[in-house]
Symmetry: C3
Subunit: 478 residues, 3 copies
């Protein structure tokens, strides 16, 4: 077994100069900058890994379940080219049978690996294959069985259990994301275990904030039950949120997260908010009322943040489950979420009028509409003390996506109104790769600013470390 060579993998699959600029003088600057940050710990302040992994520390089951079955980046591309999701082992909602042989799934994946050319998925996979499993050649139909065996054998070893990988990856802190009603039992188990890895939760209250969420009425009742508050009243409902936020903080939470369809906010007079909540609690409400309520709750959450210090993250604009047939057969998060446009400038105004000038509040904005970078987000974050820009999200967590973000946002917002990198992933083995890509792209961009004399190299080195480590740590209060 090839030893682990993280965080900087150097072999035929992962060239040491990958993602650096082609011009030799610029590439040399990028190398120097990267070498100064490659070994920094990983801060992963927002993501979707499963706390159970760290709590139980069981082996990952097999190569297909680690790399193919749960990764919508992977199976969406294969599906787009005519493969059946059933043949990739993706479970159906009705339990109708799907492929269960992990080796068969791995072979299909390997035979179509060329489809990922030019995608970030390819970069992440190659990095994991090379650094964790010592692959020296590209995955292909020809080496499918051999590579399957290498990965399968490795996963059985103690060094590949979640906690060992966490330590090998150099993770200083990672945040998971849990719903407001979650008991945080895995986090409790983890805390009780005595393991020193820092895994914190994040408060994600969509299920009790969005009147259109499945089972909303029951969720409200459950929120009341677990907090001892009367969630049929506006004041009781808000108090219940305060209690849950405090509870999440006992498991390390430093942030809340909100994934609404739009970035709309509202700041109604108290009586109007009470009336709206009464309608929402009684149900049903119109789409407009539901949207207004979600918007009101963003502002309420920001106000609570002023008291308890949680950082507020807004991830708007995903049109979820666009493919009806796929949703009906396979459920949510199946690679069929498509971005939509957002109008942040109008949408955020009520929240900003209420709390935008608070220097102790941190609201981190994400978008799936890149046109907002230069037109909306950078001008907003370059002015309002409470606002910071999250890194390129989802489809845009990519080499070109990061370049566009830098080019379009930094001149107006500056570097210091951004918050470094988020990996935002549920794919645990991709975490070092994703941070590595971000660090390389940052260093490449900084090298270009040095090469054309927009920055001095000592400043670029400061910025490289800020972007790789310090900005995320500071913005997320980790």
């Amino acid at each position: 077994m090839t030893p682990l060579r993280l965080p900087r993998a150097e072999n035929r699959l992962c060239h040491p100069d990958r993602l650096f600029p082609a011009a030799e003088t610029t590439r040399a600057i990028a190398r120097r900058l990267y070498d100064s940050v490659a070994g920094l710990p990983i801060i992963s302040p927002h993501g979707h890994t499963d706390p159970r992994w760290y709590a139980e520390n069981e082996p990952f089951p097999d190569p297909a379940k680690l790399f193919v079955v749960p990764d919508h980046y992977v199976f969406r591309m294969l599906y787009a080219q005519g493969l059946r999701m059933e043949d990739l082992g993706v479970p159906t909602r009705d339990g109708s049978p799907v492929e269960t042989d992990p080796r068969a799934i791995w072979r299909r994946f390997a035979a179509h690996y060329h489809l990922f050319r030019g995608t970030p998925t390819r970069l992440w996979l190659d990095h994991a294959f090379a650094s964790l499993f010592g692959f020296e050649e590209r995955l292909s139909a020809a080496n499918a069985d051999a590579t399957y065996d290498i990965v399968a054998r490795a996963l059985a070893q103690p060094a590949y259990r979640p906690r060992a990988l966490f330590e090998t990856f150099g993770i200083e802190a990672i945040a998971t994301t849990e719903g407001a009603l979650d008991e945080l039992n895995w986090h409790a188990m983890l805390k009780a275990s005595g393991w020193k890895g820092r895994v914190v939760t994040t408060y994600r209250p969509d299920a009790v904030v969005d009147p259109e969420f499945e089972g909303f009425a029951g969720n409200l009742a459950k929120l009341g039950a677990i907090t001892g508050e009367d969630t049929a009243t506006w004041s009781g409902y808000l108090e219940a949120h305060r209690k849950r936020r405090a509870f999440f903080k006992t498991y390390g939470a430093t942030a809340s997260d909100h994934g609404h369809a739009s970035a709309r906010t509202a700041n109604l007079p108290k009586a109007d908010a009470e009336r709206l909540f009464a309608k929402v609690a009684a149900g049903p409400v119109t789409a407009e009322e539901a949207d207004l309520f979600r918007g009101q709750m963003l502002t309420e959450m920001a106000k609570m943040s002023l008291d308890d210090g949680l950082v507020l993250q807004i991830h708007p604009g995903s049109r979820r489950n666009h493919n009806r047939a796929v949703f009906e057969r396979f459920g949510r998060d199946m690679g069929a979420d498509i971005p939509g446009g957002t109008d942040y400038v109008t949408a955020l105004k009520p929240l900003l009028d209420a709390v935008g000038n608070e220097p102790n509040l941190t609201v981190i904005l994400f978008t799936l509409d890149e046109t907002a970078y230069s037109r909306e987000l950078a001008p907003l974050a370059g002015h309002y003390p409470a606002l910071r820009l999250g890194p390129p999200w989802w489809f845009f967590d990519s080499v070109e996506g990061m370049k566009r973000f830098k080019e379009q946002a930094i001149e107006t917002a500056g570097f210091y109104n951004t918050v470094g990198f988020n990996d935002d992933t549920r794919a645990f083995p991709s975490i070092p790769a994703r941070h590595d890509v971000a660090r390389r792209v940052d260093c490449a961009h900084l090298a270009e600013l040095v090469a054309d004399h927009r920055l001095d190299e000592d400043e670029a080195a400061d910025l490289a470390a800020d972007l790789a480590y310090h900005l995320a740590k500071k913005a997320y209060r980790l």
Copy 2:
């Protein structure tokens, strides 16, 4: 006369390294990739050349009528800088007189050739001038008469007739575009001629699908007459389309094309569709009803494609004839069509719900709104089996336009959900130039991915051939 030196022209006007990256190592990779694809045949699966040219094989009349009078890229730029379209020989609708001396038109064109600096038109023209006519210097007022004479003399030679050029250009297959009511007489003549050049038609039914098209009622009647179907009924109307599609297939058609104002689709219950068609057939309808009908027909066409295998192309979003005065004096297609935004994600949902998961259907999407590349089109094509992305269209069939498309679409859609290049032109002598630009830009992009180690060079070579030839051939079933 300089001999033809296509497809790779090397002289003072056309440097062998044009459009390749500046950094020397990257340029060397680009050269190698380009040399491996420069000689591949041309697949031109979508365009607007006139089948009459190939059928009659008459000489092109004169330099002005070949390069200036019919090319809206050329005369729009001259018009924008104050030249009169009359002075460029553009015919008026009312027959009021315009310049008829081709040499005078050519002189005006030559004297203003600097206006095309930095445009793709300049690249295409220089390529044609150098490769077809041996020009060694830029067109200018000073050489207007000499160049006119060179071109005029050449056009009189057999080697410059349409079929000879077609063969010289290395065209393996070209598609023209004809309306649903077209008798395809030129195609019939061509078929009867025994010439081996492959020229296929494309089914473009706008005139019988768009209730706002000029003469729509008469067109419906004519559709009935030529198919023997009762086009006053929904079922007869659909059957008439099926018959025309079958007729077009006998002249090689592998695709239909649809140029609606928006990408809106609909999938009404049959009774609703019948009611809507009855209104449309009786006329007049509201703008909303017309739009809904066009949307319904896109879905109907997609369903017919499931049966007959025609590829469905959607070219939405052009705001036609924006300049009222120019339209009134000169008519359609006079350089005054301006792009509009599109919302593909919402617009396509009905069609995608109906047929988007069909792996045997191919729907090719184009746009004039580049913001859709990363936000809408790449996520859609990277998921739905039926969808593919057409190349950058019209104004974006340009060096920078192609770069943006690659940078914004490939990371999410991958290369294999795209369909290679379309020249989409009515300017016959520009076809080799357009494909050459596309091949060069593709190789330059791939060379950059190789230089920064995102791809291995053997993969890039595969992709260069796929983009230059195989993807178009496969997607269009040619």
Copy 3:
């Protein structure tokens, strides 16, 4: 005191190759192009410097008042990072006290200079610091007092008075911007002074054209009083505009400027316009009526331009005073203006139908919505004889902003439908820096077109001079 070394400053802060491409052959081309235009005079056809400076020619008061207090690019960034605007000396509307010690303000600015890394403000400041005051190192907390002293001592010298700087800067002509009701007293004083510097005014009638402008009714009355026209009638109101435009022309005006919320235009029948004006004059009007009236007036202004030759500039799409608290405490233009989207294609149609085909009219379009470059503005300007594209505006007057504009607009509009550079600033010492950045970015872009053989170098040299000097001079008729 270091002597002035403008316009090309070469020291540790300002590398002679700054903003040039990294690849050596391309950089060498950029150097040659830049050297051919670096010494050309400055044409500043649109901006907001204070004519009083040139008229009175008094010394600038102190370093903070020159570089920090009035510059919203500077204090917005500091404010976004938690500094109080009061501590930067920004005056409050109610007169409540703010910092008055310029040295204390300068120290705060210097201590946070790292926040400007990667911004155009940093480039402009370093250029001014190096070229005007001989700074050899970056501003910082450590050198705050020393640099303050250098600047303060310099400002007391005759060479740093406005007229001397104007001459040192090599300004051939500069335009200021004044409201329609302005008496132009400073311009009159300047004219009477015998100084040869060319300072012209620009007609900016927002206060008497926008029914939602503060004090609109009184403004109308004042317009009547100063012109002797009955501005309660449509014909009198229009005639009053004509007279003011003529008056502005006596102070050199060659252009008008219009800063509406949208680019909407209208061209109502005369009777409808009269009725609308009657409502507007009587007040109050609905938001829709106000918007329609502003749109009508853009067309009226364009028609007046046909008679008097003033160039019409449209600067739409700023959502002004987005931060309510900042507006209430500090007033307008305090760094809280945020861009909005625009739909030029629809918005301009009425104006274009009326006058868009006039080759003797010049309408210059600006935008804060970069998505319009390739989708709307370039196609419009590449067709309509009356249209020209202004340079990247405001947040986009930046290195990357200019690159995007070139890459997205030039292929469709060509270079000759653009108007060179505008500095658009009220920050007098930044003017040479801004023109220098524009010239460098232009030469870098042209060098890339030469390096990949899209242009010959002699053409690039022509274009470099056109972009640096001739296009602005010609388009603005200066």
